[in-house]
Each structure stands twice: as C-alpha cells, then as structure tokens.
C-alpha cells in the first residue's frame, strides 16, 4: 500500500493531480475525511491532495449585482460572523454558527461541507433556499451547478470523475423584505449533529406592523429546505406553495410544518425514531419560518436561531 500526498499552491496543479490520479481525494479542513477515518467509517484515501493553500479557492467577494461569492475554503467561523452573511443570508450564519465545535468551525470549509454530501450538512439548506450556485472544475472544463443539484445521495455528488473540485459558491442577493433562518433540533447546546433541521426563506409584501412584527404583511414567497430527513437535503415545495399569499402567522407556519412533515421520509436510528423525527419536522419548519418572517419584518432574531428557538412558541 503506497500513500501519496500533494500540497499544491495553484489550482491548476491540484487539478492536474486529480486528473492523473483517479483515487486522489481533495482535503481542506479534514473535518469529515479525517474524523470519518478515525471513526472507522472509511479509511483515508491512498492519495490526498491538500487544497488548503490554493489562493484561487480562498477569499470572499461581493459582486456588483449584490451576490456574494464564497471561495471553497471559506470557513464556517467566517460565515458565522461576517456582517454581510449575518445581515443578508442569515440562515447561512445560523447554520455555520452551530457546526461542530469552535475548532471544527475554524477548520472546516464551506466547499467541504457541500461536497461531503451529507444529508445533515448544515450549510446546504441555507444555500439551497438562497438559490446558490456552485462552480465545479476539472482540468479541462468548468461548469455551474445549483447547490441543490450537487448532492445526489449520502456521500454522493453530481461531480464527474476528475471534476472533483468545487471552487466557489455564488449566493444571489436576497430580495427586499426577505429574511431567512436555519433551525436545527439540538439535544445538547453544542457539538451537535442535525437530527432534523429546517431552513426557511420568507419574502414579505406590504408593510411590517408598527411594532416591527410582520402582522399586516403577506407572504410573497417562501422557500423551505429540510435537513437530515431524506438521502439528500430536500425542498418542501408543497409546504412552500401553501404559504404564498398568506399572512405570516402561527397558523400558516404550523400548516406548512405539517405539509413539510408529510412530504418527508424520515428513518429510525440511534438518534431518533421516525415518528419523533416526523413530528419534529413540523416544529423546526414552523420555527424556522417564524424566525425568517421576523427577520424579513426587520425584527432581530439573534444568530444562531436554533438557540433562540428553544421553547419558542411560534
């Protein structure tokens, strides 16, 4: 058994290794690959390409059209605290802020979280409801793919052989009067993994209530993504459709939660029974919608919304 290791400092070099060494796997933070190996889920690949020193993958920028472009190496810690993310793509900050431990958040990257294709990936629901698009490259080509299309199953992606690197993610500017939130069911207050999670995006029409509430507004558009209830993170389209044109109130959110739960196919495992998971989908969806609508109306719901959501009456 031979082990191979490369640590290129240019994107072209990394792509070259990946093209010539079919078994090679890129690693940035290593928080999935290395931890998975230690837990015996799968051995470390024989060939590893460290991509953490590639400048083309690093950094973030705001584009003139208002979209945010995030390099693959963007850390969860950055996402959780960057003003732009917290103010405009708040669900993404909610999600990034509760990934693993401070060490995980400092080391683990956005690109890794997406390409690991876990149905429990925290940042992916927020990216999906934001309409984010990933850029995948190989040594010969480059293409855009909606983040929603990247994962095709647990640990499986739409990337073709040789097309193993995600370089950046473009998150479009959110419309006026919108807000988003990610709420995860948490058994303990830190170091958790999603048992179920929900991301909500809510755009409101009409003025917010005088007290900052969304009481007099109507929902122009809602988007919901469900985490850890299916082989990939899924949109709850039936629930979304029920919300359009409705007043953003507890009854609407509860009904959307029920519709979302009906569409999910949760499993029973060591973390929860399917029955409990299904019931909790209702709860996290309603709470995520509530937090997103409050944010859309200009109300302050602190990041991470999961902490705010504990015991919250929708």
């Amino acid at each position: 058994m031979s082990h191979r290791w490369a640590a290129p400092t240019a994107l072209a070099d990394a792509l070259g290794v990946l093209a010539t060494d079919p078994g090679a796997r890129p690693v940035a933070g290593g928080t999935d690959l290395v931890v998975g190996s230690r837990q015996g889920r799968r051995p470390l690949p024989d060939s590893i390409v460290a991509i953490d020193r590639i400048p083309e993958l690093a950094g973030q920028r705001a584009d003139p059209d208002g979209s945010l472009v995030l390099g693959a190496l963007t850390s969860h810690a950055w996402l959780a605290s960057a003003d732009a993310v917290v103010s405009s793509w708040t669900a993404l900050a909610d999600a990034a802020a509760i990934v693993g431990s401070p060490a995980t958040r400092g080391t683990g990257t956005l690109g890794g979280n997406i390409m690991n294709a876990s149905p429990a990936a925290e940042t992916v629901g927020p990216l999906i409801v934001a309409g984010a698009v990933a850029t995948l490259v190989s040594s010969t080509a480059k293409r855009q793919l909606a983040v929603a299309e990247v994962a095709t199953g647990p640990g499986r992606t739409a990337a073709t052989a040789g097309e193993l690197l995600l370089t950046e993610v473009r998150v479009p500017a959110p419309p006026e009067g919108s807000g988003s939130a990610y709420v995860r069911l948490e058994y303990r207050a830190a170091m958790e993994i999603a048992v179920v999670g929900a991301t909500a995006f809510v755009a409101l029409d009409g003025s917010a209530g005088g007290d900052g509430s969304a009481a007099r507004a109507t929902i122009r558009e809602a988007r919901i993504a469900l985490t850890a209830v299916a082989p990939t993170i899924i949109r709850a389209t039936a629930a979304e459709e029920r919300l359009a044109g409705r007043s953003p109130d507890a009854a609407a959110f509860a009904a959307a939660g029920q519709a979302a739960a009906a569409a999910a196919s949760p499993i029973s495992d060591v973390r929860a029974s399917a029955e409990y998971r299904r019931a909790m989908i209702e709860v996290v969806v309603a709470r995520a919608l509530s937090a997103a609508a409050r944010r859309a109306a200009g109300e302050d719901v602190p990041v991470p919304a999961s902490r705010w959501a504990h015991g919250q009456e929708v």
Binding site: L185, Y187, R188, A189, Y276, M280, V283, G311
Partner: protein
C-alpha cells in the same frame, strides 16, 4: 491546626496539566517499544469453533500474538467476589468487547494487519439481553457452569442471577397493608458510561523476572494483585505506576488489561504499549454504570409520613461480575434513601447478560436509584397533597433516627441541606414562563479502608509525602499536602508528593468509594504528627523551652508569647540530621468503624449493610422544557451538601460542580443504546452525548458542615461520589413540574420527554400488582425464582 486547611491553595499538578506538559500513560514510550492491539469478539455471545494465529504470527513486524493458550488457565475474580472471568476468552465469548487475542508489532498498522490475519470461527449462541427474561426458568445462561465458580461465601447466586442482596427491617407486608395510601411505580434506567477523556492506556516493560506496568489505573494496588494472580507470579515482582490520570469516574477502577499487556510484553520480549480507541473505551472495559429496573411500593400515613417501602431492583451485570455483587446492597440502601422508614423490604438482583460488564462507576447505582426514589417521592407528596419540600421535611432523617438496618444517625445536615437548596433555588417564588423547579435529596456513604503514608522533612526545610493513594484528577491527593502542612505549620507548597507507584507508597484502595481524603488523609495526619513530635522535641532543646510552649507556624517553631525565640523547621531538620537522626514519620491511622446495626434479616451481606459516616445532600434544579420537542435545558442547580467538615473548599466545590455537570448527562442525554444483536449502537462521542460546557448551568454550591464524630480527618466525610447522585432526580422532578408528565426512563431524552407529554407518562410499565414479599432467609429467591413483578398493567395515571 486550621492554619492551612480551609484555605484555597494551588494544586501541585495544576501547572503541568494546564500547560499540556503533564504526561499521561498514552504519552509514554520506551526504547524498542512495540504497539499492542487487542482482537475482540465483535459479537455478544458465541462459541469459538476455531482460533488460529499462525498466519498472524508470521506477518512482517509482528513480535507476538497471544491468546488464552499463552496465559495460565484460570478464572479470576477481579474484586474478590466471583471468579468468573478469563484473561482471554476460552471457548466462549460473552460480550462484544471480550478479548480473544492480543498482538504486539512494530507499528500500530502492522498490529492491525496482524489482527486481521487471525483466523477465527464462531458459532453464535442465544443472547441474554433482558434482565427480567434472564431470570425466568429456561433462559439461556451467560455462564453455563456458574455453579462451579469460586465465590465469596456470602454470595447468593442462581442461574443468571450473579448475586442477590436484601435490606430488610420490620414487617413491610403488614405496614403496607395498614397504610392509608400505597403508591407503586416502576423506573427503568439505561446503562451509563464513565467516559474519562483519557482512554485506557498501558505500557508494560520487563526487566528480568520483574515487570513494571504503567497503567491508567485508579487502583494500582488492586491491579498489582490481579496481575500477580492471573499470571501466577509473586506480587513483589510486579510494579504498577500511574502517570497523570485523565479522569476515571470509576471506569479505571478494578483490574483491567494490565496482565494482558504484561503477558504480551513478555512474549514480544520488549516493552509493549496499548492505547484504547474511543470505540474500545466504550465497548471493552468492564466498568459501566448499571442498567437498572427499580420497582418501588411505598405506604404513607394520611399526614404524609412514610410507613413502609418495598423495592425490587434488577441490575444489569453484563457478562462478568467484577465488583458488582456488592452494589445491589448499595442500591437497596439508596432505595430507602435518607428517609425515616420503619418497615423496609428491599431486594436487589444482579443479572448476568451479554453486555459489557458493569461495576463501580462514580456512585454506583446511586444516580439511577436516587432518580427513581426522588421521582417516587414527588409522586408520594402529590398523593397526600403536600408540597415536595414539606413532604421531604416530614420524612428526612435527623439525629437519633434509625437507618434501614437500625444504624443510629448522628447529628447531620439532611434537613438543613433541603431547606438551603430550596432557599437558594428560590423554591415557591414565581418563575419566568416555561421554567420549572425540581428538588431531590439523597445520601451516600464514606468508606473506611486501609491507607498509609510516610512524611519526612529534609534539611532544607521542605517536606515530602509518600502515599499509595491515587490521584484521579479530583485533587484529593494534592490536598494531602494541606493536611501535612496543617500539622507541621507549613504551607501545602512546601511539600512534594510521591504517589501512585506501588513500589514506593504503602497500600491504598485507590481512587474509589470517595475514600482518598477520608483514609489517606487520616494516614498523612498521623505520619505528620509523628514528625511533629520529633520537631517539637528537637526545637524544645534548641530553644530551651517546654514542649507545651511551642507552636508550629509559617515554617518555623516559636515559643508562644515570645516570637523572637524561633527556629525555622529547616534549622530543626538540619540539627536533627547533624545529631544523627531524621525527621521521618509513618502513619496509617485507625479506620473509623461502621455504626452498630442489625442486618440479621438481610441476605447477601457484602459490607454495605450500614453506611459509615453517611453524607447527606440535596439538589434543586431549575429547567426550561421545550414543550414542542421535549428538549430540556438545565438553567441552574443549587447543590447543598453535608460532607462533614470541609477541609478544602475549592476542591470540594470542584467535585460538586463537576458532579452536577456529569449528572446532567446521566439525566438527559447519556445512556447506552444496544441493538438486538447485543452490540452497542452509540459507541462514539457524537451519539453518546456528554454534556458540553455550553450545557453547564449556573451551579450554586453550598455546604452544611456537620462534622462526623466517627469520620475522616477533622470530621470530614467523602465528597467524590455524592454530588452526582441527586441531580437526575431533581431534573426529573422539574420536568414533571413543567409538563405534568412523569418520565420513568433514564436518560430522559427529548424523545422520551416528548412521548411522556403526549401519553401522560413515557410508557414504562408499572408493576401490575403488589410486590411480593422477599424471603427473609438466606439463599431463597422470592417466589418462583423470577422477578416478582407483573409484566405490564399500563400506566398508573
């Protein structure tokens, strides 16, 4: 006295641990060291049809592969109760983590490859996983030839019942029949793991016919004894040394793998080190907290006084008995609780199953039993319309009351701890929406046992303490310097401590049973007093003063009233040395005696028929229950303890704070999940959920000092275990107060709380009829030999 004790002081081992310089056993290496790995069964119950290590032995880099064929063919009793266990499986494996073979190789990878090259064929045997079914006639047996095992003469065993103990006083049957109110409930607790952050690690190195074993042990002397016994070598050729220990919580009590690694090192003819993985830490060591079934039936008078209690307790022993046989008796005592109950009839059965062996994890059986008893106590209070605090006030023991076997209680802090915990948590005050409060009281024992110490003062005026005591991280051994300093008028920092080396220190039970300060403290005080006598004699001559006029203070000896007439302790030590003597002292002290009691009606009397120097405590928890999800956050815990005289307030408060946090895990998120195949499904820290720092509530620690007349040094009692006992009970009662639903499964996970809210309880079966009386004479199991509880009669509500 009192110059030094009761004052905070910096621990001698603190800086090395805080800066990362402290060496733990897994950090140690030796020249030429090989890496050891174990092959474990990976299945819960099977017969070994074929085992062939020939191919593994010939792999590159492999120095040795050993199995049962390479060690003496004998069964051992790790704690002296039942000789039921071989070092390596012989013919049968009885739990998934049972060791079948061990490999020593040049690298961990080579060792792993050798493990994979071992050829083994199993024939699966029927699993024994349910403690009730295990006791029924015709159940498959975990130990086919249990009757032939050597065991302690007091042990009552039959079939899968590894041991049985009862605590009986008065006539519970008659008293329950005459009671105004009788409440029956069943509580069920899952197995819990101690989860020390440092995993087990052992490095064994032979020199001629002597072996030095560095081990992450809480009990190095017990380990030495068992290495000698299982490998059939004299004890004096075995030295067990412990580096800094990264926590134990009982998981490193008892004898574990020291003999395996010693045998492996002998076969490999070089030092061998084994460091456990986290998965191994969960599935292999024979020390987990028992899964328990607790049936309670209590009779009350209409004014809310407890008149009688019957209890039937099942403890999941796992595959081997280890020190569990004694723990059923503790569970019975805990099931009575710190209450005045004239008639008691408690019966605990320890049941073999094909699970990882249970044992004395921090306060063994305490958290589970107290959780059941205190939930039950709140239900009792509700039945007679009393406030939970008032109900406890009417029933807690006070001085002069009789215990479960008629031990007479000295003045104690049980009642004051209750009132103080209630006051600190704001019992009865309005709470923010969604918050609730629960309270729980409990008791625990101190454990008299042998311990010894040497104390010396060198000519430079510095002291040295040599002790056999084991520092598991609590600071108890570090605090021995405080006791010696107090006797000798010196600061704790003036002493170095030599500890956890069986070649250096005198015998000690180890870090177990909350006993270190209680016993090693007493030994150090006695040794220091011997030195003190010598210091005073020499100083009296140097100062030309009477012995009685001298005081020892701030590192010097002076004449009372004439501070100028003074010599430093270093000057005294130098003078003594110049005169051909030395300032040496040795002590073991006199162990406190157990209170008088009457256990004549009890069977399985293994040493806990009465509690020596009992501690009393009460905790109140304020929680917020998320009613939609069942997730419980603990916001505040008031923990008030009578641990006798508090010698080291910082250390004692640390024990209580840590205990509360650990117990929050027991209450809410920890608990072993097994598959139908008898294998653990959450043997990793992601799914065996310890509390994190973010889960730690505000913890308000209080002490009620009721010095024990017959206790440890200066009236101290034990503090290591008590703090973990009542927390789950307080949280359970807070959950019930918030939701109106009683969760009778531990841990009270979000899903269980959610179910309880929907269904009125969590669905744990209550006993269907009155509990059957226990047979009072030795040896006879109660009617039918099976557990005398009905299968299920739905919910009580």
């Amino acid at each position: 006295m009192t110059a030094t004790i009761e004052r905070p002081f910096p621990r001698a081992d603190g800086p090395a641990k805080a800066t990362g310089q402290a060496d733990y056993t897994g950090d140690l290496t030796a020249p030429g060291m090989a890496h050891g790995r174990f092959l474990v069964a990976g299945r819960a119950h099977a017969r070994i049809r074929r085992l062939d290590v020939t191919a593994a032995r010939t792999r590159p880099g492999v120095f040795a592969v050993i199995t049962a064929a390479d060690v003496p063919d004998r069964l051992y009793a790790s704690s002296g109760f039942v000789a039921d266990r071989p070092l390596f499986a012989r013919n049968v494996v009885r739990y998934e983590g049972e060791v079948v073979a061990a490999v020593a190789a040049a690298t961990p990878e080579a060792a792993d490859a050798a493990l994979r090259a071992i050829e083994i064929e199993y024939e699966d045997l029927p699993l024994v996983l349910d403690v009730e079914r295990a006791l029924q006639p015709g159940s498959p047996l975990v130990h086919e030839n249990w009757a032939g095992y050597e065991k302690d003469g007091e042990i009552v065993a039959e079939g899968n019942m590894a041991a049985r103990s009862t605590i009986v006083k008065g006539d519970a049957t008659a008293a329950l029949g005459a009671a105004d109110v009788v409440v029956r409930e069943r509580y069920v607790a899952d197995m819990i793991h101690p989860v020390p952050i440092e995993p087990h690690a052992i490095l064994a190195e032979w020199s001629g016919d002597r072996v030095t074993i560095h081990s992450s042990s809480q009990v190095p002397f017990a380990a030495r004894t068992m290495v000698a016994e299982t490998l059939e070598i004299p004890q004096h050729r075995v030295r067990v040394v412990v580096s800094h220990l990264g926590g134990g919580f009982g998981g490193k009590c008892d004898f574990h793998y020291e003999a395996h690694v010693a045998a492996l090192a002998r076969a490999a003819r070089r030092p061998v080190r084994v460091v456990f993985t986290r998965r191994e830490e969960f599935t292999m060591p024979d020390k987990v907290g028992h899964g328990m079934v607790v049936d309670l039936e209590t009779g009350l008078s209409s004014d809310g006084r407890i008149v009688a209690r019957r209890g039937r307790i099942l403890l999941d022993c796992g595959a081997y008995a280890a020190d569990s046989p004694v723990l059923g008796q503790i569970a019975c005592m805990e099931a009575v609780g710190p209450y005045r109950i004239p008639h008691v009839d408690l019966d605990a059965r320890l049941v073999y199953t094909n699970r990882v062996p249970s044992g004395s994890v921090r306060a063994p059986t305490g958290p589970q039993t107290c959780w059941a008893v205190e939930g039950h106590t709140d239900e009792l209070a509700a039945r007679v319309g009393l406030d939970p605090v008032e109900f406890r006030r009417r029933n807690l023991v006070t001085a002069g009351d009789e215990g479960p076997t008629r031990q007479l209680f000295e003045p104690n802090g049980a009642l004051r701890a209750l009132d103080e915990a209630a006051r600190r948590i704001g019992w009865g005050s309005p709470l923010p929406a969604g918050e609730s409060i629960g309270i729980a009281a409990g008791w625990w024992f101190s454990m008299p046992s042998a311990s010894g110490a040497f104390v010396r003062i060198d000519a430079d005026g510095r002291g040295r303490i040599v002790t056999g005591a084991q520092e598991n991280g609590t600071g108890a051994v570090m605090a021995l310097a405080m006791l010696a300093g107090d006797e000798l008028g010196m600061a704790p920092e003036d002493f170095a401590i030599v500890y956890q080396d069986t070649d250096a220190g005198p015998y000690d039970t180890g870090s177990a049973g909350s006993q270190t300060t209680f016993n090693a403290g007493r030994a150090v005080v006695e040794a220091a007093r011997e030195v003190r006598t010598k210091v005073i004699a020499a100083a009296a001559e140097m100062l030309e003063a009477a012995h009685a006029d001298l005081e020892l203070r701030d590192g010097a000896i002076s004449v009372v009233g004439s501070p100028d007439r003074r010599v430093t302790i270093g000057a005294v030590a130098t003078q003594v040395q110049d005169d051909g003597g030395l300032l040496l002292g040795a002590g073991s002290g006199t162990a406190p005696t157990k209170p008088e009691h009457d256990a004549s009606a009890c069977v399985g009397r293994l040493g806990f028929e009465a509690f020596a120097s009992p501690t009393f405590f009460c905790q109140a928890a304020r929680v917020k229950v998320d009613r939609a999800t069942g997730v419980v956050r603990v916001l505040e815990v008031a923990a008030v303890n009578d641990i006798g005289r508090v010698l080291n307030p910082r250390g004692a408060a640390g024990q209580i704070t840590g205990g509360v946090v650990q117990a929050i895990g027991t209450a809410l998120t920890e608990g072993t999940v097994y598959g139908a195949d008898g294998r653990q499904r959450n043997a990793a820290l992601l799914d065996y959920k310890l509390p994190t720092a973010a889960d730690a509530p505000t913890i308000d620690v209080g002490f009620i000092e009721a010095p024990a007349a017959n206790g440890g040094p200066y009236g101290a009692k034990g503090v290591g275990e008590p703090p973990i006992v009542p927390t789950a009970g307080a949280i359970g009662n807070a959950i019930a107060a918030a939701t109106g639903a009683r969760v009778r499964r531990l841990p009270m996970t979000p899903e269980r709380v959610w179910r309880a809210m929907r269904e009125g309880s969590d669905g744990a079966a209550d006993p269907g009829g009155p509990l059957a009386p226990a047979a009072a004479s030795a040896g006879e199991p109660a009617s039918g030999g099976a557990v005398p509880v009905g299968a299920s009669a739905g919910n009580r509500r």
